[in-house]
Amino acid sequence: MSHLTRTKTSRRGFRLAAVAMAAGLALTACAGGDDGTGTDADAGDGGVATADPDAEATIKFSWWGSDTRHELTQQVIDNFMVKHPNITVVSDFTDWGGYWDKLATTVAAGDAPDVITHEERYLRDYATRGVLADLNEYSDIISLDSIDDSIIAAGQMEDGQYGIPTGVNAYSILADPQIFEEAGVEMPDDTTWTWEDYVEIAAEITANTPDGVYGAQDYGFNEPGFAIFARQRGEALYNEDGSLGFTAETLAEWWEISLELRDQGGTPPASTTVEIDAGGPEQSLVGTNSGAMAFFWTNQLGAVTNAAGRDLVLLRHPGESQFERTGMYFKPAMFLSMSARSQYPEAAATLIDYMLNDPEATEILLSDRGLPANTEVREAVRDQFSEVDQYAAEFLSDLETHIVDGLPVPPVGAGEVAEITRRINAEVLFDRLTPQQGAEQFIAEVSTATGN
């Protein structure tokens, strides 16, 4: 009996030991890999001046996004590797939620991707900490001739060019004309409508439609909406120097309007709002045919239209002609950046140039990374845009005369502000904080996060 038990135990023990040993091996392998990277990186640094453009190179390219984007980008990468047989591109993609955690970890491990997709709120964090390369050093490879200067400027900081925008976006309203019609409410004139009109229209639509259909989705979860609201009043979310450029009163007013919307029935109850917010564009009110208006980026039009299964309309923000100036702006959809520690900076620069300037890449990507920043390429592929993309492109070009200026690169720590906004918005919507308290807490927390 005891002998039998023992045999069993040691067999199990053996299996355990085997697993542990495999884990140990994997660990050693990792360590070996790390060493390799370190040495190679050193060699790469020394070799920059004499690099051979035809030398073999393996680079890693990271991006976030939907499955559609992953498929399209993989096609582009495959084409790129056919054109540059000496360069192997390793794809490294994830969804938006996990992207920044993963990037921070890989950078800390000394294993940063060579070409990094970036976003304005994180760009300064990474650039000022020496993670990103100054792309001006590769201006012989990356051509910026056909990209508008104001767009290029969005990736510039005091001492260099740390990212190049792939395309532009605008934060705007997506409206469902069918729900407007069902509610017997006329589409607003978006060049003249005020915030009061917005509240009124939203409440009227909720009142005239069946239960579960609302006039609008809450807008308070996202700080770009407030940036526009503040600009309309001649203020700003961030000043050029990264300090806060608005008063607590303005922010409180922004939340007061959203409480007005909630109380008059224009937006759903707070818990429904939180739930919708967690679901993404496909589960938004407009995406599920249960809401007439919601704030979105123009490059999300395609995804929301698909989900809704019917044509949607883009509208400008309310209040654009109500106050001191217009608040809307073009935002770089995302940036292409390069790791400062890339072993093969030339190869990485070649890929960035290809993504930005080769019509072959844009023919596949179309407006997935924003309306293409390269105006020549944009014109060349315009005919291939889907109807929805063409509509968005027209909406954006109409905005060109309307928009006064862009936003400065947000300060270090701006990545945290998205989370702060979402949290305090929930506190306000659930009446745990008044708009005024919310505004004061927001200012205190953002000041701490951005060190101002």
Binding site: S2, R6, S10, G13, F14, L16, A17, A20, M21, A23, G24, L27, G97, W100, D101, A104, T105, V107, A108, D125, Y126, R129, G130, V131, P269, A270, S271, T272, T273, V274, E275, A278, G413, G415, E416, E419, R422, R423, A426, E427, F430, R432, A449
Partner: protein, 314 residues
């Protein structure tokens, strides 16, 4: 570790009496050490190494992106005025102190029920144990979000009775409650240990008690509970430590935000956010060490209190 120890003790004290070590087992010990060696290497590299590193980092301003600078106790000082940290402690303590006792009560109740020797016992045991295997998984957390959503199963059942429910996971007053229910539901592991404990209580005590006229409840209170206290104590210590480390459920159910309005912001989740989202790894390391101190302190209190209620029938 001590879980296995306890169980081994129970097994050894089985009907055959005390088991003594045979000479040939000494050779086995050498083999055991040999085969355990990789595990010890792993313990050093994956557990102890990083712990020492995090202790060092907790005295620095490490941002993940730049080399750390020594800032002495600054991180620990910041904790004193960090209201979100205080909130996360409140959330975590509420979670532990409410859900662990409920979970143990559920586990004990089920164990008593299964101990009565039903037909198909093995099947029931597996069925009730299943949630423990699944409970920490991402898939179940996603399922939870659906069940407690505005249009979820719970509200559909409530609607059947004419009650208008709401989004439970998306309301700050109820979100933590749904996570507690999830934890209570994973009662399988303590249940199995309770079952093993119940099997150790000699039948003769019950026989004697029933001859003396003690009813079922009396027997339960005066025989089962006292003799089971070492097992209850063991489960309590283990589950308290486990509950303090809860992360996945809150991360998935709240979409990584700890929301709505920080109502499900577990300590571990806030630690993760500081470290990886806010690039404040020095502070996150300090938080990790505060957690170690808290859990060690609570476990020590548990052991001290055990003198007054745990009964060892040796």
């Amino acid at each position: 570790m001590s879980a296995l120890g306890e169980l081994a003790t129970l097994r050894r004290k089985g009907p055959k009496g005390k088991v003594t070590m045979a000479p040939s087992e000494r050779g086995d010990n050498k083999a055991a050490i040999f085969f355990l060696a990789p595990w010890f290497v792993g313990l050093g590299l994956i557990t102890i190494g990083p712990m020492v590193a995090s202790l060092f980092l907790s005295f620095t301003d490490y941002s993940l992106l730049q080399p750390p600078n020594w800032i002495a106790l600054e991180n620990y000082e910041r904790m004193i005025s960090d209201v979100r940290l205080h909130n996360s402690l409140r959330v975590t303590f509420t979670y532990v102190f409410v859900s662990v006792p409920l979970q143990l009560a559920a586990a004990l109740a089920l164990a008593l029920f299964l101990d009565r020797g039903l037909r198909g016992l093995a099947l029931y045991r597996s069925v009730f144990y299943l949630p423990s295997l699944l409970g920490g998984s991402v898939a179940i957390a996603i399922l939870w979000r659906q069940i407690f959503g505005t249009n979820g199963l719970i509200n559909q059942v409530l609607a059947f009775f004419g009650i208008q429910g709401q989004g439970w996971v998306s309301h700050p007053d109820y979100a933590l409650g749904t996570l507690m229910i999830l934890n209570v539901w994973t009662f399988g592991a303590p249940m199995i240990i309770f079952l093993a404990g119940l099997r150790q209580i000699p039948e003769m005590y019950y026989e004697a008690a029933s001859i003396d006229g003690a009813g079922r409840i009396r027997q339960f209170m005066n025989i089962t509970i006292p003799l089971l206290t070492p097992i209850i104590f063991f489960n309590l210590v283990l589950q308290v430590i486990g509950a303090f480390q809860a992360f996945t459920q809150a991360f998935v159910v709240s979409g990584g935000t700890g929301g709505p309005a920080d109502s499900t912001m577990f300590y571990t989740l806030y630690l993760y956010q500081r470290g990886f989202t806010a690039l404040d790894m020095g502070y996150a390391s300090a938080m990790a060490w505060l957690l170690v101190v808290i859990v060690a302190g609570l476990t020590a209190v548990n052991f001290l209190l055990s003198k007054y209620w745990v009964f060892y029938n040796d």
